[in-house]
Structures are given as C-alpha cells and as structure tokens.
C-alpha cells in the first residue's frame, strides 16, 4: 500500500541551527501539508502546498520556515534557525485529487532543539 515516508525519524539539534525535514508523499498525490504536534498538545497546521506553491500557511509558519518540492518527489520543510519551542513532532501529509478529503500522514519526524 502506498505510504508517506519521512526522514529523519528523530533529529536533535542545537538552538540556532538549520534543520531540513524530508518527506516523500504518495506518488500520484498533488496536495502536500506539514503539521506539527508539540508533546501533549494539539496537532497544528503549518502549511499546505499545491502546484508548486504555498496554498495556505499558519501564523506559526513565519520567515524561519520554508517548504520546497525540489525534484517532483521530495517535499521538504526547512527551519532556518531553530528555537527551543520548535521542538515537536512534525508530520507530513498528502492528499489525492479525489474529493475524499482524506489525508495520508507519515510517521513523523521528532525534532528536539537543545
């Protein structure tokens, strides 16, 4: 069964460092998303991406964040200068073109900022 894959599963970084989280969405999907989940808190929307551009972003997704689909298969989230409060589980999701509304999530990348 097709699945969304994310790497790395866990990354530990120092505050101020750049981090790139990678995702390979399901191959025929066209809509891509990043969500995050701080431990014990709600899942929060970060950004949606369609047709090679950002469709919508939340207030969390400030200038320190960027997304890219560099090669038609990968979908990356970059945090330029990490802060302690960026520590969270980051989930990538993709959606097909049908009107089902169902998102397919990866297993997540746990980011720990020290």
């Amino acid at each position: 069964e097709p699945e969304v894959t994310q790497t790395p599963s866990h990354q530990v970084t120092q505050m101020g460092q750049e981090v790139i989280l990678r995702c390979v969405p399901i191959s025929n999907h066209l809509y891509f998303y990043w969500y995050r989940q701080i431990l014990g808190q709600k899942v929060e929307f970060l950004v949606s991406f369609y047709n090679n551009e950002i469709s919508e972003k939340s207030e969390i997704f400030d200038d320190q964040f960027s997304v890219e689909r560099p090669d038609g298969s990968n979908f990356t989230l970059k945090i330029r200068s990490t802060k302690l409060e960026d520590s969270a589980m980051y989930f990538c999701a993709s959606k097909g073109t049908g009107n089902t509304g169902e998102l397919f999530f990866g297993e997540g990348s746990r980011l720990t900022v020290l």
């Binding site: 969304v4 998303y33 969500y35 949606s48 509304g101 169902e102 998102l103 297993e107």
Partner: protein, 115 residues
Amino acid sequence: SQQGEEDPQALSIQEGENATMNCSYKTSINNLQWYRQNSGRGLVHLILIRSNEREKHSGRLRVTLDTSKKSSSLLITASRAADTASYFCATAAGSWAGNNRKLIWGLGTSLAVNP
C-alpha cells in the same frame, strides 16, 4: 477560530465494551474527520463525514454529526485491545474540492482497552 474539542480526554474500558468519544467545534464546517494515533506514531484516517450527512458507518466504527449542535461522536463497538490509541477529530472548512483546506484538530481522546 474553530476548534475541535474531544471528550472525554481519557477513556478506559474492557475489551468487548463499546467506546464513545465526542467532539465539539465552533464554526461551520465542510466535513469532519476522525483520525487515530498509536503512541509515537503517525495519524491514520478512520472516517470522514460531510456536513450534509448525519451518520456514517465503517466496520466497527459509527460516526454521527449534528451540525445544529456543532458536535460529532465516534462509537467503536466491540472494542479490542488493539484499539488502544488516541483518537482525534479534525474539521475542515470551506470548499474541499480543488481547495487545499487545512484541518483544525482537537486535543484527542486517549482510549485504553484492557484485555
């Protein structure tokens, strides 16, 4: 801003019993979805109910939606130990088709099914 709020926050039942989780939200929606998350794992879509639907079934799952009360319930019948997980409702507003609407999530209900 719209929110999904589930209750109870935690539920512990015996295998074979039914589990009911509720979700309330604040603004009008296009659809409401339920997801499951095993500890430390990704989110798995369970079922979607549209704003013009009142009830939907999928296997042992039954979802209801009351748009007048802005609430939904998820019923898991004949629960199994493998159903132990966190369950989240998520709401989508606006037109979905061709429109990349975000999902707004609740805090989730942590379900423990004891063998």
